[in-house]
Symmetry: C2
Subunit: 300 residues, 2 copies
């Protein structure tokens, strides 16, 4: 089943103890779409400015991404993010962020995308997420990601979004911020009372968990000896997860568990290089192989 | 197979956002022995001072612990620890520690304990750990725990110990401290070069991982909605793990994985109350039940 995503497309600059990357392709829906495209065709709705480097398009073409909803907007500038990772690679500082085209309206949804059944609202302004969601009357599964910035500054809009989606994906620190509950499991319980049927909490190198009214899923991360750039780990996790769900249509706890494990595996590749460089080098067979390895590491 | 353990027996005082406990039974080998005793009989070699409250003996008797190696030493004082947990329950400050009898020599190993095949050197002075280890020529598996204090102050003795044991159990921050390697997996790789055949890294609420020359194991923690007192979580994890290994004799990666999962489950009970109060209330059947629940949460 085709999966549609909106979110940010960015020009990123990253400093890390492992090196630096200046003006590389990034953004939540880029990482998401590339990761999901290993499992299912992906439709993208997002805008860039007229400063968007044309050669970035080659990366999109490497993956199964339908770009009919990608608008290059004259007179606007592309979203930019500059960040720096700490020595331990688990924490980062945002050095600067320019919303630019992200603060404007979304491009129209192409007519041929309106039958989309699997919707992912990658991290972007919740008003844009709500706008996009309204276009898909036949949706089977709508999941959103969010971040600290929107929790702090757009809480009412975010709370409205929560009543309209099936699942929310967010970091552990964001779950705490949204609910003011320090225990992650209880924070997730509280988010379920705000609307979604399930919540996925991403814990970076510590894995992920899902709280659903019918049960819980806990998964470690795939152990990584070499982390080059954690940027996009959460988005590629969500991409692998949603791609797998859209491909199988299995929304049971078993299906969600398999999807989260595939998300974990895609993310573990993504962090092995800056930008999307590592995902560009792999095929679905690499994911299947590492999935089996992951399975063996924790099979009880 | 009987399992033998040495380590600390303590009088603990704990402050946490969930309450406080003054002068309660604690210590690494107490939590360990209680947890292990659900799986196999446990032999204990350790000393307390003449200030050790007699009613603490009732707790030992609740579990399958052979106390022939427990010495009540006249003129000595019991080890004492006072700590305070932060708001998030993941970090704690040691407010005071009195080594007392821990700084003296270990009691002699009772003759009938010398055939022990499974040895656990719970967290205590590495000289005491080395001393005890020398008593068991027929050992099949010797595993030690350690802590930041010994890594900082007793490094040569600790490094000697590492050449004589099969496995090391330690926290993530301790693995970093021991190896000066920030990546946990590479830190564990480095510890393997120091002697042990496997290293188990405990990550508290984030689970645990094992690095072995033949493979890796990663497990999340059991999701806990209510953490009352994390004291002894690592020791009860190790107790459940070693108890399971001694009971089954299965030292394969599959056996180690099952043992770590049982350790995870015992620890998840232990943190539900202060001191050993929660472990006193449960039976092996509770562990089996939660083990199945844990298995279902991550079965791929």
């Amino acid at each position: 089943m085709p999966l549609i995503v909106t979110g940010s497309i960015g020009i990123d600059s990253v400093q890390a103890p492992t090196g630096a990357a200046e003006d590389v392709l990034g953004g939540s829906c880029v990482y998401f779409a590339a990761a999901a495209s290993f499992f299912t065709p992906v439709r993208l709705v997002a805008a860039v400015g007229d400063d968007f480097p044309p050669h970035f398009m080659d990366t999109f073409r490497r993956f199964r991404i339908d770009l009919a909803g990608l608008e290059r907007r004259a007179g606007s500038k592309t979203f930019r993010w500059r960040g720096k990772y700490h020595e331990n690679m688990n924490q980062r500082d945002t050095l600067s962020v320019e919303l630019n085209v992200l603060a404007e309206s979304l491009p129209p949804v192409p007519h041929q995308f309106r039958d989309s059944e699997y919707i992912f609202l990658a991290n972007t302004h919740p008003a844009g997420q709500l706008d996009l969601l309204a276009n898909f009357p036949h949706r089977k599964l709508a999941v959103a990601d969010t971040m600290d910035l929107w929790i702090e500054t757009q809480r009412p809009t975010l709370l409205e979004l929560l009543t309209k989606i099936d699942g929310l994906v967010l970091n552990d620190s964001e779950a705490v911020m949204l609910t003011e509950e320090l225990n992650i499991i209880r924070a997730a319980d509280k988010i379920l009372t705000m609307g979604p049927k399930f919540v996925v909490v991403k814990k970076g190198e510590h894995g992920s968990l899902l709280i659903h009214k019918d049960g819980e899923i806990v998964l470690p991360a795939f152990p990584a000896r070499q982390v080059i750039d954690p940027t996009g780990a959460g988005d590629s996790f969500a991409g692998g997860m949603m791609g797998c769900l859209a491909a199988t249509g299995d929304l049971s706890l078993t299906g969600l568990r398999r999807a989260m494990a595939y998300g974990t595996v895609v993310a573990s590749y993504n962090i092995e290089a800056f930008s999307l460089e590592r995902m560009k080098q792999i095929e679905k067979s690499h994911l299947d192989e590492r999935y089996l390895k992951f399975q063996r590491m924790m099979a009880l």
